[in-house]
Symmetry: D2
Subunit: 342 residues, 4 copies
């Protein structure tokens, strides 16, 4: 019973098969191989646009390289104070951007809105004295398992562009948001004004595969130099690209995301019926944030369940995070519910 | 009538005289000159301790070099969201530290306390995933013209040290705080647990003279390499040191600070008697933050008074900042009051 | 006939099998998994010492993270002017070290010796004015297919340590050097004074697997923060570690290196018998640097052979680089020789 | 008898007087003052062009900020291996550029030419794998007291521009070169193809005053943010600008440079007549590099002369550097000659 993270599980059979198949023969290195070319074409189809695609191997690298490309060293990046780039990447964006400032904002469900950014702006409109507002970055689905609607994204994009900024999306769980909202990839990105996205595959079934996608080619300037200079250009690039091929073929990525979301929904539904338990945020993707009575938490851990306390115990209950994955066994979910209810 | 900033005025006659005197003859460069040696000795006397002293030319350089010496690239620095390092230095600390994270905290009067830092800590205690808590930085006197008492500093220092952090003070207006609190330099720094301070002279009568002071020599490791690498080691260092000599001799620095503070006090006292006006913060140093009726603001500006709106006009009044300096003419203060009252 | 690089080929069956096997089940992420633990143990056995092991995914990352750990921002790193860190990594070491200086040295066969470093030292012994000599970095086997003997390494290590520097080895092709010299891993590293090594597996049969090895734990300080901050900490770390498991089991890595070296030897031996052809460097690993008559070059390319010109054609001949790999078909080598001789 | 450096002496009376005069009254800070505006106008006149001028306080800052503005983080900068940016600035350019690579070249008299750059280029034309050739930087007058003619500068500029690079001049001793070559400032800079220059005043009579000059406004993009972020924007900017005013008025800067050059010429002429002594480089500015018999060196030092050994003693003689300054007493030169000849 491992609900600690969606990176606790391995890779899907499709991804492993594509990887093994890609190993055959000699091909050009550093991304000039046919697998990488096919993945580019496939993502252009999926996003219904001629996008720029650059594979990397971690979400932190994808976010940091995207932000460094969008934001000058003297820029400011506005994000939620619970976002991955703010508190889970060891200040990697500050390193890759050569010292840009991340401005942490508040907002329910780990979501920000134009008003939150507007409230922080005046402190960063002092000419050369303050870091220059450059990027708004949001996470889709968020770190608290919620999603941004296309209208919410559009509002942020419009605000960003009206203030000479761009909009970046950390899409480490983009597939989960996509199936949750039942919209197309295009509708959730460039059609809503998104300029660049970190498109994650790792959490949803790959080994280590993320792609930075720029929806306007002009935004991608210098990205390839930055990737190389950061040690993120793989010589045998086909092995990342192959993962995407296995991931994207026949909608495999949507199936795994749907499965994880459905398990989260089931778990969330069960939790609200437990006496003393409640949801901290609506379950809109593959994570459940719930207040559980401390006795329930103890019982679950005794039974071997793994999950994180999101806050220290307080008042007899604890806010816990439960993450469901493409590979979480259904019986683990059932067992969790049974024990929690006992 | 210039109340825009304490850097709007030039230098004191003592500083200029010392500078001119220091120009004579040939001496070793890069700080190995007798003037710099004398300033070191003088500051050790003033702080009653064998401190490490390194002159630089701007407050931003002093703060950033001090913080880079105290904080690793993967560290986090806790400061007030209105602090100079947060919003007035174009993310210079992020650049000098090679990408450390500044965590902006709230607090009345631009002051933070241990509870504010403690509240933010959990997000930065995730091992390598989050930036490592490394430094607490406060400003004395603050950007809002308030001061930290020795007890408040001690509480922050104790909290910092208990959490493997250090305490840095941005003392751009240290002299103003000193005379306001009527304590010794030692009592406001190392006796209260401060590890390093940016000791400012520019705003209080020098041309361009700041010094980074480390109260424990071991904290100063690598500082000299960092200063050189940042282009902040002057070949003719005697010219910065000479400013300190003029500044510190015969308590000149305390006299200029007392004068500026007294003018601020007079102005603050007058403002509270103006109908519709009030102070936003207690006047504890050389700045007055006051809500003035918009008509008063207009009248003052029409008469040639220069000062900054600290917030946009709202509800018929405006929060303005009025900074008093060692050189602000008394008649300017009197005239300001007369016009405001008219 | 692909002799362009040893990264043109995929991965060995052992590596792919280990990867697939590692995908099963849920395990802790970010390196706290059992596969990573086993690889650490295995490498300690192989190096006959309690070494610190940190897997990453590219040689550039391994080198840059190792160098950043060994060298302060104000440090100087001495290396050959043809070394990978000097001219093939887009100045990544300068980025990761936050601005250290790489000093490029000359030397036959892409090898440097203490005299070369000593000759450059005086320019970097000017106190804070010059970058501080901090690291000597060598490549084993070198970029020109030569190797350092244990005695040569020892001389460099002694010189480094006598001058308060450390010795780093870029071991992207360490296996090829090992089987060439017929020494133990310990003899070529810590027993000869090496402080840290980038231990490559990618070129010799992995997909993307390198490990930074510190032979003294104290040298590894902060490495884990640096890796995370650079986006090089994989959530599903087991997939890199699994590659090492497949790579190291039953001496698989030595077999693949022996095969590549033997093919290089065969090719080198054949080339010297071609009229007008000669070797530019002794063939000591898996690469052949040869001067070939331009007509031979043209004939080979017409037949589909892929390889790089190392220098532009000059005087009727061209210096070419021919790299042999664990997977280069024997018949390709035979065919190359036949065509070259024709 | 101090011949150690031209920064061993203080400032000229003109500079000190201008500084003192500038202290009067309240003016806008951060460069929006009338003194700074006047200096901009004056330099436009001097350079016969509408140039962009940004004052800073050290040569290292001027060079590093100029290079960071001209060169991306993934760029390469070609310079002489004895240049100040290469070996006297603690790798500051690498820090300010966020990790660009300095490529050190050889050349007589600390001068480089297009052939030297061309010879190094191929290693930096490997796409994203190598740092991208971006800037050629030369020193005028050089660190060895020689000068570049307009034709030599033009050749480098043409080569730079033909290869998508720019040409930067470290003009820490530009005045000395100017009077030596008897050309106009325009002829030695933009008319010869120079894109940006660090225009030094410190060594020739100021306290601490350098200016970065861009001859094409478009090249100056982001400079002001970089300067602020590096802590090099002075609040009381008028005090740097005032130095320039004193420096430039009535050709004062040319007089001081002529004096220093003339003293160097006299010293150089005397040295060649000393048995066993010779010049290492032609005396074209204000420095003399001479081989002196060790007995002469000892005698001079016994008499109190200060100067640097440029190389360790060898074969009974030592290469020494003797720098003449605007303020070196004539009698010191005469006495040096007398003692050397004795």
């Amino acid at each position: 019973m491992n609900f600690s993270s969606d990176n606790a599980y391995g890779a899907t059979p499709e991804v492993l098969a594509a990887l093994t198949a890609a190993s055959e023969g000699a091909v050009p290195s550093y991304g000039d191989d046919p697998v990488t070319a096919r993945v580019r074409t496939r993502l252009c189809e999926i996003f219904e646009r001629d996008v720029v695609v650059h594979p990397v191997i971690t979400g932190t690298a994808a976010n940091s390289l995207a932000l460094a490309t969008l934001c000058p060293p003297h820029g400011a990046i506005f994000c939620h104070q619970e976002s991955h780039i703010a508190v889970d990447e060891c200040a990697a964006p500050e390193f890759f951007t050569h010292g840009a400032k991340l401005v942490h904002l508040e907002g329910d469900g780990a979501k920000i809105d134009p008003a939150a950014v507007a409230g922080a702006l005046p402190n960063f409109q002092r000419g050369v004295h303050s870091a220059k507002p450059s990027v708004i970055s949001i996470t889709q689905a968020t770190e608290l398992g919620t999603v941004y609607t296309p209208a919410e994204i559009r509002a942020l994009a419009d605000f960003a562009h009206a203030n000479a900024m761009t909009l970046h999306v950390d899409g480490a769980r983009f597939a989960n948001a996509l199936v949750s909202l039942d919209r197309t990839p295009a509708e959730l990105t460039w059609k809503a004004g998104v300029d660049a996205m970190s498109f994650g595959a790792t959490k949803n079934g790959a080994l280590c595969a993320e792609a930075v996608i720029f929806f306007e080619p002009k935004r991608a300037a210098d990205f390839e130099y930055r990737r190389k200079k950061a040690g993120h250009l793989l010589s045998k690039m086909r092995f990342i690209s192959a993962q995407f091929e296995g991931y994207l073929t026949d909608g495999a990525w949507l199936k795994t995301a749907r499965r994880a979301n459905a398990l989260a929904q089931r778990l969330g539904d069960a939790i609200v019926s437990i006496p003393g338990a409640s949801l901290a945020h609506p379950v809109q993707a593959n994570a459940v944030f719930a207040y559980l009575p401390d006795a329930v938490v103890a019982r679950l851990r005794d039974a071997g369940a793994r999950f994180y306390d999101w806050q220290p115990p307080s008042g007899g209950r604890t806010l816990v995070r439960l993450v469901l994955s493409f590979a979480t066994p259904e019986e683990d979910v059932a067992r969790f519910i049974t024990i929690a209810r006992a």
